[in-house]
Amino acid sequence: MDMLYNILIDPFVQMVDAPDFLIQVVWEGFVAGVLYALIALGFVLIYKASGVFNFAQGIMVVFAGLSLVGLHEKGVPAWLALILAIGIMAILAVCIEKFVMRPLVGQPDIILLMATIGMTYFLIGLGEVIFGGEPKQMITSELGLPTGSTAFEMGERGLVILQHIDIAAAVIALLMVGGLAVFFNRTRIGRALRAVADDHTAALSVGISLNQIWAIVWFAAGIVALATGIMWGARSDVSFALEIVALKALPVLILGGFTSIPGAIIGGLIIGIGEKIGEIYWGSLVGGGIESWLAYVIALIFLLFRPQGLFGEKIIERI
C-alpha cells in the first residue's frame, strides 16, 4: 500500500506543496531538452539529406567547442575565434563530403554508419592531438553571452532561479530552428536540399549537385554542433565527456523521428522535461540515477503507438 502511495500519490503531493520547485524542475528539463534538441537537429539535418545516421555528431559538438576555445587560448579574440571555428566546421564539412561521403555513394546504409563511427574516433584523436585532453572553460562572457542568474521569490520559502545562459540557450535554439526553417523553405539551396532528401536520383536528374548539397548540410550540422558546444560547454566545460552526452539525442530521435526538425525540438523537450520530472519525483523510489534510461523508456512508449516517431514520415511499402 505504501508503495502504491509513493508511486501514485506522493509525487503529486510534493508538486502541489512546492510549486516553485516544480517550476524549477520543469525549467531545468526545458533547458536540457533544448540542448538535446540542438544535438538531435544535427542528426536530423544529415539524415534528411543523405540517409546517414551521423554517429559523429557528438564529437562534432566537442570539436567545434574545442576549436573555439582553443583558438581563443592561442590569443585570438573571441569573435574572430568564433568566425574561425565556423570556418573550421566548413572545412570539416568539405573534407567529409570529399573523403568519406563521395567515395561511399551507393554503399549500404550500414557502411555509411560505420564510416561515421570511424570519423568519430578519428576526430577524437585529432582533437586530442591539437587541443590536448584537458577540459577547457567556455569563453561565455568573452562571446558576449550573459552570465549570472535571476531569482524569483515565490511565497515564504519558494525560489525559482533562472540562469541567464540557459535563457540565452533557449533563445538561440529557437532562432536556429527558425533560421533553418527559412533556409529549407525559402531558399533555392534549401529547396534543393529537400529535393535530395526526397529522392536522390530525381534530384540529380534536374541538375542538383549532390556533392554540393552534402557539403552544405554537413556544414549546417557543424554550425548546430558549434552552437551546442558553446551552450553545453557554458553549463559544464568543453571536454571529450560531452561526446557521451550527445548520445542523449538518440531517444529524442526515436521520439521525434529521424527526418523532422520540429520533431527534434518537440522530442527534445518531452525527453528533457520527462526525464527530469521522472528522476526528481520518482527516481528516489529505485535509488536514483534513472535519468539515463528513463529517456529511452519514454521514447519506447511513444514508439509503441507511432513507430515512425511523432513527426517522422510514415513508411508505406507496397508488396
Binding site: F21, Q24, V25, V31, G133, S236, D237, I280
Partner: protein, 440 residues
Amino acid sequence: MRMRTLLAGSVLVGLAASFAAPALAEDSVYIQLPTYRTGPYAGSGIHIANGMSDYLAMINERDGGVNGVKIAFDECETGYDTQKGVECYEQAKAKNTLVFNPWSTGITLQVIPKSSVDKIPVLSMAYGLSAAADGNTFPWVFNPPDTYWDGLSAIIKYIGDQEGGMEGLKGKKIGYIFLDAGYGREPIPLLDNLAQKYGFEVLQYPVPGKEMQNQSSQWLSIRRDRPDYVVMWGWGAMNPTAVKEAVKNRFDMSKFIGVWWAGGDEDARAGGAGAKGYKSVSFNNVGADYPALQDIKKLVVDAGKSHTPANTVGENLYNRGVVNAVYMVEAIRIAQEMTGKKVINAEDMRVGLENLKIDEARLEAIGLKGMIAPIEITCANHSGHHSLFIQEWDGEKWTPATDWFSPMTEEVTPILMQASKDYATSNAPWPTREDACPAN
C-alpha cells in the same frame, strides 16, 4: 687473410657489444605508468601523469637514478577504462615492471587477484580497495597514505567539529554525491555505519558516468532535500560540473566537501568566484616552492623534457602525482638497502613498499618537507591511516583550512578488518600470506 681477420674482428666486436648491452640494461629498472591523458577523465589524469613522470625524470637527471640505477619508465594509456587497464597490466607484467599503479579503483579491483599470482606489487595510492590495507590478507597491495574509508571518516570528523562535536551530527542530513562506479561506491558501507552510530541521515545522489556533465537532476534533488552538508566522491569531468551546479543552486560552498580526488585546481576554478569556500580533504599541500619541485622545474620542465605546462607545477593534482612517484622511488631505495641488490625486481619492490618509511628527516633530504606528512607502512598495515587536512578554495588557489588531523582509525579498523576477511572468504581459495606478519 686481411679480409678474414677483419671479418673475425667484426664478429668479435659484435659479440662483445651484444654482451655489453645487458650489462647496460642491468643499471636500470622498469616501471610502467598507467595514465589517462585522453577521455572524460583526462582533466584529472593529465596532472597526475605529469607529476609522476616529471619526478621520475628529475631523479634520473639529477641523481642518475636511485643509487646509480636509472628508472626506465613509459606510459600506458588506460583512458580510465578497466579493460584497457587490465591490458596495461599484462603489458607491464611482460616488461617486468617493478610495481603497477592502476590509477583507477575499477582497474585495481581487477588486478588484485592477479598480483599475488604474478608477484607484482600494486600501489593504489589513496584509492582502490580500502580493505587492502590489511597486509596479512593482501601482501601484494598497498594503499598509503590513507584509504577511502580514512578519507570519509576524516570528512565526517571535520563536519562533527563544525557542529560542536560528533554528538552534533545527530539528526543532520549529509548528502553523498558520487560517481556511480566502484570508486564512488567504495565508501558507502562505512558511511552507512557512521550514520547509524552518530545518528545522521545519508542521502545518496549517484551520478552515472555517462551523465557526468549533466548533473542538474542530482542538484535539483539536493536543493529539494536541503542536506546540511554534501560530500562528493567525484573524478574527471564530474568535479567541475558539480562545483558549477552547486554554485548555480546557491548551495553553501563551505558545506560542500570533496574527497582528495575532487580537489583539483580546475575542479574548483570552474565554479568561478562562487566556488570560494569549497573544500576537499587532502594529504598533500600545493605550491611549487619545495626544493624537489624546483629541481623538476629546472631540470625537466624548463629543459623541455616534459609535457607539463610550467604554470601547473605545484597544483594540487600535479603534486599528488609527484607524491605517488616519491613513494615508488623511496621504496626502490629501501628495497636496495634491504636486499643488498642494486637492480631489484618486483618481489624486492614489495619488500621496499612493505618497509616504506619517510620521516621528517627524509622528507627534508628529498626536498619535500611540509608538502606531505611523514608516512610509515608496515607488514600488517599497508595504508598507515595517516594524518590528513581539509583545504579550502579561496577563489584562486587551495589553502589549508585545518591542521593535520588523524582519521577515525578506531572506527575504520574493525570494519576494514572485517571487510578484508569477507573479501578473502568470498574469493576463496584466497592465497594465504607465505611469511606471516609479526603479531604487533
